[in-house]
């Protein structure tokens, strides 16, 4: 066995997986509370990557940032997360909230509408060309290695950053008042509202957090892979959702594990399976089908009891 290939694939799988996990969290939290499949989530992630790019250039560009390189990176994350959070709240307000009592399919269509709107707005404003993060000039091309294990700085940053964000989220949901409110709204929205919880606010907070995480993932993608483009959101969103389903939709630890599973599966498929670099998405799809068939409620999901 070629261990250095294996380590490379593992590292890139973990990196991808961290991104998917962050995206999956947004899907999973929203689904948990509203039972809504937020198709526009992948595009929020794309917008996050672009906000990061603009923040970087607003701070002087990758070659000669006005502030220190690390502050520039911090600024990119802050702006992207804030911007995407606000965007997420606006999307909920505008496209989903009026449809809470509409037939189940209406918000899905609305979400599809938001998705094409965002994608093509990005095309209109940012143009069709790829944009370069130029990470190499910004923070250098240093890699850490432990024997056969090579880790670039952005990869390390992504894995650790995602870990930190997820830890913070877990603490927030389990400890804070709003977090507890979120959990109770997820269990029974009506009962929660009767207990004096402001459901609308909780939903807004959920969208803010989920979208902010997607924004952070967008910036991480830019830092690791260097280039960003309009249609990066679609496939990433699909994978994020897959991760959420595999982990068990509605479950926060499920989304994290699901993200890593999808990332690693994709990475190993690229390296080891026949024509993996072309068909890695098909292999991920096959994995999704397998999980759904064997455990329809996902790895961490709980089976739902039908009410009669």
């Amino acid at each position: 066995m070629d261990w250095s290939l294996f380590f490379d694939l593992t590292v890139s799988g973990l990196t991808l997986g961290s991104l998917y996990a962050l995206i999956a969290l947004g899907y999973s939290m929203v689904y948990g509370i509203l039972k809504l499949l937020n198709f526009a989530h992948g595009d929020v992630y794309m917008i996050g990557a672009f906000i990061g790019w603009f923040a970087l250039h607003g701070l002087g560009g990758p070659l000669k940032p006005d502030v220190g390189a690390w502050f520039a990176v911090l600024g990119m994350f802050l702006f992207a997360m804030l911007g995407c959070g606000v965007l997420g709240v606006a999307i909920e307000r505008f496209a989903y909230r009026p449809l809470r009592n509409a037939p189940r399919i209406a918000p899905l269509i609305s979400a599809l509408g938001v998705s094409i709107f965002l994608q093509n707005s990005a095309l209109l404003i940012f143009g069709a060309a790829f944009r370069d993060y130029n990470t190499f000039s910004l923070i250098g091309g240093k890699t850490y290695n432990y024997g056969n294990l090579y880790l670039s700085v952005p990869q390390l940053m992504t894995i650790l950053g995602a870990l930190g964000l997820m830890l913070a989220l877990t603490l927030f949901v389990s400890r804070s008042r709003v977090g507890k409110a979120m959990r109770s709204v997820a269990i029974d929205r009506e009962a929660a509202s009767m207990m004096g919880i402001d459901v609308d606010r909780v939903i807004s907070v959920t969208f803010f957090i989920g979208s902010a995480l997607a924004g952070a993932a967008g910036v991480m993608f830019g830092l690791v892979f260097g280039q960003i483009y309009q249609f990066m959101g679609f496939i990433a969103g699909l994978k994020g959702f897959t991760a959420a389903v595999i982990g068990g939709i509605g479950s926060i630890p499920g989304a994290m594990i699901g993200g890593l599973v999808v990332g690693l599966a994709e990475s190993y498929a690229t390296g080891y399976l026949p024509q993996g670099s072309t068909f890695q998405n098909l292999y991920v799809f096959a994995l999704l089908i397998l999980v759904i068939l064997l455990r329809p409620s996902g790895l961490f999901g709980r089976a739902v009891i039908q009410k009669a």
């Binding site: 499949l37 307000r93 269509i109 094409i116 209109l124 068909f279």
Partner: protein
């Protein structure tokens, strides 16, 4: 009090938006009548519903049959053929989504399978030149079979999982046809199945018993006849026990199952039926386009077909045909800036007329808009000449008039981008404001809409703009009428 002695419940103020548990039947009747027959559209719908069935069909089929006689082949191709293809696709999709309530986002892949299958059976790629009377049944059967295979694992899934499974399937199809020219298949070795990114070229024309359908008109009439058949079949199925069972399971799958309806089998049936219609349409589309290209079967078309179905109203067969006419012809008309401008301003004016009451307020807004434009133009002319250095596209009188009213910066790039973002933010924020402020801000917002339109959207009219408008339309339509433009209001108990 109602006749059976149950006391009337007072209707809550937002009654229209809530599940109507316990509402007395008289109230519900009156509300139902009001919801269905209001305004011009309501009056038309009512007329339409009173027509005998044959007359309703004729109302669509006769104008469609006459259309090619009135115009040239180019228009028949651009408007006619695409309308019919969209209508056929949407009718099939409607069985899946509208009748059975399944969200199938891989639908377009079946359309693609149809075109590629036909290409494999009748093109120089494998030197097969099957006649259509054999090829089409084979294609339909194969797509139905693939539909069955995709549907089987989805059977036990709740709606949203099915959506994601099928979306993935659609994506997988695109990836596959793009790369299938590079695959080494087991047993067969290297076969160039799909021509990769270049597609399958030179598909034979439809060849029925030696008669080749090559002209646009022939293809048009074939599609029209097909649609007539599909319409009649769907109507009859809808009236039959299967149609009733589909509607029942869409309403309440658990109750349907307990009322002796095999829910899973019927869902699968609807899914396969939809796939077969898409496959059939795909085969015909392949011969019209004379090629199968991977780009034709992507998410863009999926959204278009959904837009057709939604405009028409879920479950309403006739509405869909109308939806197809709108969705296929409006973007085509928008393609040229000369048409796009009147359509855009007409739509804005129409929205204002319909939405703003009383007419005095409407007049105030319009007058304000005109005055605001001249004022802004004058200020910009005096203070920032750069903002008025450019000029409107086109040279008709309307464009000249616009030059004195609208701002045209010399090189709008960045200004227009910022204006666009501000506009989107403004539209989101506006409904949250107090009524008075809202009315006051409405004028600059509309001016901003036109500024962005003139300086940014009009440039990209054949690309991003059309899709932006489509996306915005979907969101707006779901907000205003979740049941679709021509659908009936739908009561759902959550």
């Amino acid at each position: 009090m109602a006749e059976d002695g149950t006391p009337d419940l007072p209707a809550p103020p937002d009654a229209a938006n809530r599940p109507r548990i316990g509402v007395d039947e008289w109230v519900a009747q009156v509300e139902g009548r009001r919801a269905r027959y209001r305004g011009l559209r309501g009056a038309l719908l009512e007329r339409f519903e009173r027509l005998p069935l044959a007359a309703r069909f004729a109302l669509f089929l006769v104008p469609a049959a006459v259309f090619p006689l009135l115009t040239n082949q180019g228009n028949v191709f651009r408007y006619g053929l695409f309308t019919l293809v969209y209508a056929l696709l949407a009718l099939g999709l409607n069985v899946v989504v509208g009748f059975a309530g399944l969200l199938d986002l891989g639908y377009i892949a079946f359309f693609g399978v149809g075109a590629y299958m036909y290409g494999i059976l009748a093109s120089p790629q494998f030197n097969n030149h099957w006649q259509a009377e054999f090829a089409i049944p084979v294609v339909v059967l194969v797509t139905a079979l693939i539909g069955l295979l995709v549907g089987l694992p989805s059977r036990r899934l709740v709606g949203d999982y099915l959506a994601i499974m099928t979306l993935f399937f659609g994506q997988a199809f695109v990836v596959f046809v793009n790369n299938a020219n590079r695959i080494n298949f087991p047993f067969f070795g290297h076969v160039d199945l799909t021509g990769g990114a270049n597609g399958l070229p030179n598909i034979d024309p439809l060849n029925f018993f030696g008669y080749k359908l090559q002209t646009t008109n022939e293809q048009y009439y074939l599609l029209l006849i097909l649609i007539a058949f599909v319409l009649v079949f769907l109507y009859l199925i809808n009236q039959s026990r299967t149609g009733r069972a589909w509607r029942a399971l869409r309403e309440d799958p658990l109750a349907a199952e307990l009322m002796s309806i095999p829910v899973n089998r019927l869902k699968l049936l609807a899914f396969v039926f939809g796939a077969a219609v898409a496959g059939l349409t795909g085969a015909i589309y392949g011969t019209i386009a004379t090629a199968a290209l991977p780009g034709d079967y992507d998410i863009g078309l999926l959204i278009t077909i959904y837009a057709v179905m939604i405009l028409g109203g879920f479950g309403s067969i006739m509405g869909i045909v109308l939806g197809a006419v709108i969705v296929s012809s409006v973007p085509e008309l928008l393609r040229s800036p000369g048409n796009a401008r009147p359509i855009f301003y007409g739509a804005i004016l129409l929205t204002l007329i319909v939405k703003v009451r009383p007419w005095r307020r409407l007049a105030a807004i319009l007058a304000g808009l005109v005055g605001f434009g001249f004022a802004v133009h004058a200020i910009a002319h005096a203070a920032y000449p750069r903002l008025v250095a450019g000029s409107a596209q086109g040279s008709d009188r309307f464009a000249h008039a616009l030059n004195h009213w609208m701002l045209y910066p010399n090189n709008p790039g960045k200004i227009a981008d910022v204006a666009y973002v501000v506009l989107v933010a403004g539209i989101v924020i506006l409904p949250q404001l107090r009524p008075l402020l809202r009315t006051v801000l409405l004028v600059p917002l509309f001016y901003l809409v036109m500024f962005v339109w003139e300086n940014l959207l009009l440039e990209q009219i054949s690309g991003a703009t059309r899709l932006i408008l489509l996306g915005a339309l979907l969101v707006a339509l779901m907000n205003a009428r979740p049941q679709g433009l021509f659908g009936k209001a739908y009561v759902e108990i959550v």
